[in-house]
């Protein structure tokens, strides 16, 4: 089965679904489930479109890196849809388009095609966030996102003018053989980095995040904070490893590291001082996005992938639980959610597992990932970055524990929130996965060492 079907089938269904509004949610459910199942039948290959070989035609790359990305994005997307397709019927067609766009982001091997998919998935995201009923925040997101993707496009135009190709592999090759100095490509790389940084929520490009995730609902919270964040993380990983790192100047390196560290530190600090559950979660995901980029930047592709997975699964649980409560109660002040888990023990345990994994406690997936990243950094003789990660993890630990204590303990006057069976089932399964892979670490450590994107410059085999 060709991986192009992952993009084309949701698209075709989207086009058809505008005529059958009643059936649209079921089409969405079936297609998003089928995408997950179909992944098992796709061989690792480079897919040529239209019969024209790269770099002249567009190609899609299904290597082990994009396959693992597709698995996590499609599964979480299906779960979001399963939890929401009844309530947000009107969004069905848009969600189908966004699925096509996200799969395109992960698969494409062409820099301009990547821009097209950034647009497709971006516009779908703006529309999905209109369900927050905060038009101004959505408008801010739209403006920030559009300016960001335009900057990416400008960077790409300059690169095209310099090297005359759009294909990622060919671009990497051309840059490598042209002997261009690192400063010659620094400016377009910076523009592209900024463009993607907007979607990835890096400081100072993330002004939209608070408006969108701070008032998110059960649909927008998990889909933006978990699904989209994971997809953009994978795109970042591919561009950094296969393009930016080929020819990076020292100044650009410093700029990027400063941006990333600022995101981590400021994100954790803001989360620490927040009083609302959704705010705490959104600031912590800004910090995590920074960490993901940092890990890719130091070349630990495998651990970057697992960090994305741990974050996506964790944030999915946290946002679903928090958003359900805030949808029911109309508020997400920690003080009014106090004692939420006294009557919802199952959900509470899953939430606890997810937050313990996020702060990097032993026995959970987040710990395995953070531990190995720190170990790898130390063995490279880098002391500053691990220090920052350790201190921010400590801050993270404090505010998550503080939050958990409030949510677990209260004597009377408990908030009345009921979680339905599907939601409980989904969060418990995800939490179990975080625990299983936190204890049984052998397969992950094995996989992380081998996992890499195709090296374009060396000719690239799968």
């Amino acid at each position: 089965m060709s991986a192009i079907l992952l993009i084309v089938v949701p698209l075709l269904t989207a086009f058809i679904s505008i005529l059958f509004k009643k059936a649209a949610p079921y089409m969405l459910l079936i297609v998003s489930f089928a995408s997950v199942v179909a992944l098992g039948y796709m061989p690792l290959e480079v897919i040529t479109i239209g019969g024209f070989n790269a770099p002249y035609g567009i190609n899609l790359i299904l290597d082990s890196y994009s396959l693992i990305g597709l698995y996590i994005v499609n599964s979480l997307f299906f779960l979001v849809v399963a939890l929401n397709c009844v309530k947000y019927k009107k969004m069905s067609t848009i969600l189908l388009v966004s699925l096509a766009g996200l799969n395109g982001l992960l698969l494409t091997g062409d820099l301009f095609n990547l821009f097209v998919f950034i647009e497709v998935s971006g516009i779908a995201a703006y529309l999905i966030t209109t369900t927050n009923k905060k038009p101004l925040a959505t408008f801010n997101y739209l403006v920030a996102g559009t300016v960001g993707s335009s900057l990416y496009l400008l960077g790409l135009i300059i690169l095209y003018a310099m090297f005359g190709t759009l294909n990622m592999a060919d671009m990497a090759n051309e840059i490598a053989i042209s002997g261009a100095s690192a400063s010659a490509t620094a400016f377009p790389f910076l523009l592209m980095f900024i463009g993607l940084g907007v979607e990835a929520k890096l400081l100072p490009l993330n002004s939209w995040t608070k408006g969108i995730l701070g008032s998110s609902n059960k649909l927008t919270g998990p889909i933006i904070a978990a699904v989209y964040a994971a997809a953009i993380g994978f795109v970042f990983g591919r561009l950094i490893t296969d393009l930016f790192l080929i020819n990076i100047s020292e100044v650009l390196e410093i700029v990027i590291i400063i941006i990333v560290i600022a995101s981590i530190v400021a994100g954790e600090a803001m989360a620490f001082s927040s009083k609302k559950v959704r705010d705490i979660l959104l600031f912590s995901s800004i910090a995590q996005a920074g960490l993901v980029v940092l890990v890719f930047f130091y070349g630990f592709v495998g651990w970057g992938v697992f960090l994305i997975i741990a974050n996506a699964a964790g944030k999915f649980i946290l946002f679903v639980v928090a958003n359900h409560a805030s949808d029911e109660l109309g508020t997400d002040e920690v003080s009014s959610l106090q004692g939420l888990f006294v009557n919802n023990k199952v959900v509470g345990v899953a939430f606890t597992v997810a937050s313990l994994s996020a702060m990097g406690m032993p026995l959970f997936l987040g710990f395995v990932v953070k531990m190995n990243i720190l170990g790898d950094l130390f063995s490279e003789g880098n002391l500053l970055i691990p220090g920052i990660i350790l201190v921010t993890s400590l801050v993270e630990g404090i505010y998550f524990v503080r939050l958990l204590i409030k949510l677990w303990y209260k004597e009377d006057n408990l908030p009345e929130v009921k979680y339905d069976f599907t939601l409980k089932y989904v969060v418990v399964v995800l939490a179990l996965l975080l625990m299983v892979f936190g204890v049984y670490t052998a397969p992950i450590e094995n996989e992380a060492d081998n996992l890499n994107t195709i090296s374009f410059v060396e000719g690239g085999d799968l």
Partner: protein
Amino acid sequence: MKNFLALLLTLFLGYMIMSWLATNEFFPAMGDVDVTTRVSQKYIERDVNGNSEEVVFGEATNLESGPANTVTAIVADYRSFDTLGEVTVLFVSSLGVALLLGGTKQRRLELNFHPNFMLRVGSRALFGIILMTGIYISIHGHLTPGGGFPGGTMIASSMLLLYLADDEFRAKVKGFKILESTTGSAYVIIGLLGLLLGGYFLENLLVNGVLGDLFSAGMIPIIYILIGLKVGSEISGVIDNFLTEEGV
């Protein structure tokens, strides 16, 4: 003061960018590029999959890509997948407009001028001409500048004329929806047929014919007509959404 600072900052950044580009030896000046070393050369010679013969207008037959218009050859053949993506961008945008502005019961927005009889009749006469031009541009996209996107926008502009020149006019929006859906699906299905029969998604299955003939370039004119209709109906739908309001 804030605006002034913003202006200064923008000018400074602009200067930095320009001077950076000017001193960068790998960023060629306009017209200085050696095209033979770039992908563009093979698009012009239709040489991606190997073609040793010279491309002559009106004579060359069955090239790997049939449109006489090289821009179309790139946009709708070599990089057709991007075009499918752009069509999707427009699709989801018009869907968003309908989602935000469209309600169930709608009526025309009150204009504060009322077009007179002559304007109404005259615009009907013009409508046909603009529509025909739009369709012509779409159909001849593989031969002359233009194609599905500009052609479709012209089709929509003829609808806009009717809306502006007649304050009672409402198009049948349901028809737009059906057109939009069928043309979009047809584009994807053509692509899937290519995958099924030829082995590549969006592969051109028909013969390319003689370069420059109206009936040449295989699938490309068909795809461009579909895109023209799709773009036309989508933008017309957007116009209708902007010129109507809720309530009866």
